[in-house]
Symmetry: C2
Subunit: 272 residues, 2 copies
């Protein structure tokens, strides 16, 4: 039996979904059917959302849905509360304590989390994304402007991690794929040496790397367990020899990899 969950938001619904996912994961063994209702920013949309939730309630034989709700506006929240669901308003518990602490009432502005765009921040993110795209293969690349340079064997997760750090945090992240020559010679390529303190290594379990490479080039030498194991062992040795911090990406999400790299390199970038 699955419980129905709605993530309702006056913006993208990403925050509601993230919080909901964390809280529901606390109830192991239960399964949930989740639905996102984003951009609920008018009474009409709130009414439509309430109706959709009510309909689910009727279809579930009366078991009420759970709503994780990041709508700020209290008028819209009142409309949503007519849905008959268990309503968990994410922001509500914190407004009162903050009003007391800050000695003033909230201004009642609409949720601005993803609303008004700060052009400078936006530009930083876009420029960082373009930077990551242009510094993705280690060929004819100058790393002088890089905040971070990821090193690792092919398919260890460098490209998506660079793009994530760029898009999310506006960090200029380049990446350098260790070549067989680098691995054999056990030496950092000359063009990386001046930027040693910005280097960060990505590793991955050999079995997993084999899987990933096999999807890309099935049956190739590149995708054999033997080749993957050799490359990873050599890369590991090189990183230790060169004193490059490294992270194993096998059981780690892109978000976590990106945040850990920034945290370990001491780069504090803010999303807003």
């Amino acid at each position: 039996m699955r419980r129905t969950v709605f993530y309702v938001s006056d913006s993208t619904g990403i925050t509601a979904e993230t919080i909901g996912h964390s809280i529901l994961a606390q109830f192991e063994g239960l399964r949930f059917d989740t639905h996102r209702i984003p951009f609920v920013d008018s009474p009409e949309k709130a009414q439509a959302a309430a109706l959709r939730i009510k309909t689910a309630l009727a279809q579930n034989g009366g078991e009420r849905p759970i709503v994780i709700n990041t709508v700020m506006d209290s008028v819209l929240n009142e409309i949503l509360s007519t849905s008959g669901a268990l309503m968990l308003e994410v922001f509500a518990p914190f407004i009162g304590p903050l009003e007391d602490e800050l000695g003033r009432k909230r201004s009642g502005a609409v949720n601005r989390a993803h609303g008004l765009v700060d052009f400078a921040k936006y530009e930083t993110r876009i420029n960082a994304t373009n930077y990551a795209l242009a510094h993705d293969d280690g060929v004819n690349v100058n790393y002088a402007d890089a905040d971070v340079v990821l090193v690792g064997v092919s398919r260890s997760g460098k490209t998506p991690t660079c793009l994530y750090m760029a898009l999310h945090f506006g960090v200029k992240a380049a990446n350098y794929p260790l070549t067989e020559e680098d691995l054999q010679q056990q030496e950092l390529p000359v063009l990386l040496r001046p930027f040693r303190e910005r280097l960060f290594g990505l590793t991955i379990d050999a079995q997993r790397l084999m899987q990933i490479r096999n999807e890309r080039r099935p049956g190739s030498r590149y995708a054999t367990l033997e080749q993957c194991s050799w490359e990873l062992a050599q890369a590991d040795k090189l990183m230790r020899r060169e004193n490059i911090q490294a992270l194993n990406t096998t059981h780690t999400s892109i978000e976590e990899i990106g945040s850990k790299i920034l945290s370990q390199l001491g780069i504090e970038k803010h999303m807003f």
Copy 2:
């Protein structure tokens, strides 16, 4: 006078920062110094975090910091509460009501939001990212596998939006830059026509486009207001004629653009 805010998390801190940003934006005119303390997942790290917060309190002449806290574990939260800050625990208010609703106690598992990785989902995101990278310029491209194809003039925001949808939602997003020839002829390129229902247009204000293009190619014809205005007007006409939904990206964040596109095309993809 600025108030000090800490985002404390047992994972990346992204959720804490997002929620904090939304709530603090409700107090217009106040300014906050924000700091992220991620990966607080042991008593030692909780003690270190509490100490850092206490130090900030002492330095602020006794005005206590505000802590937005997404740590799940109650032992760690007790340690954090010794910091003397205003402690806003994001998950705490919802655990009780959910336990009542679901008729069982939470299992007390560590925050798994970004922790355990679902390989299938991870692969979907990585494959989607590779797809976006390989389908970024409209040259020699087959759109048959695309979930979405973004169309728009150069620098209207297509590439970062595609990468965001790929990384965040695992959506296969291609993009096609409208050429001067397309704009002049007022016709959709032949290779896009079979995928009409997956097309989505991005537009942008001419002034803003001019700024962006000038950063890229200062003083070029490409970056003149005249050229930008002409391209945007032609693109607008073409999209209306071809019945392609479109969104103006000027005042919209990448998150919001991505979510709106998926919402308007009726694609419901989940992050987890």
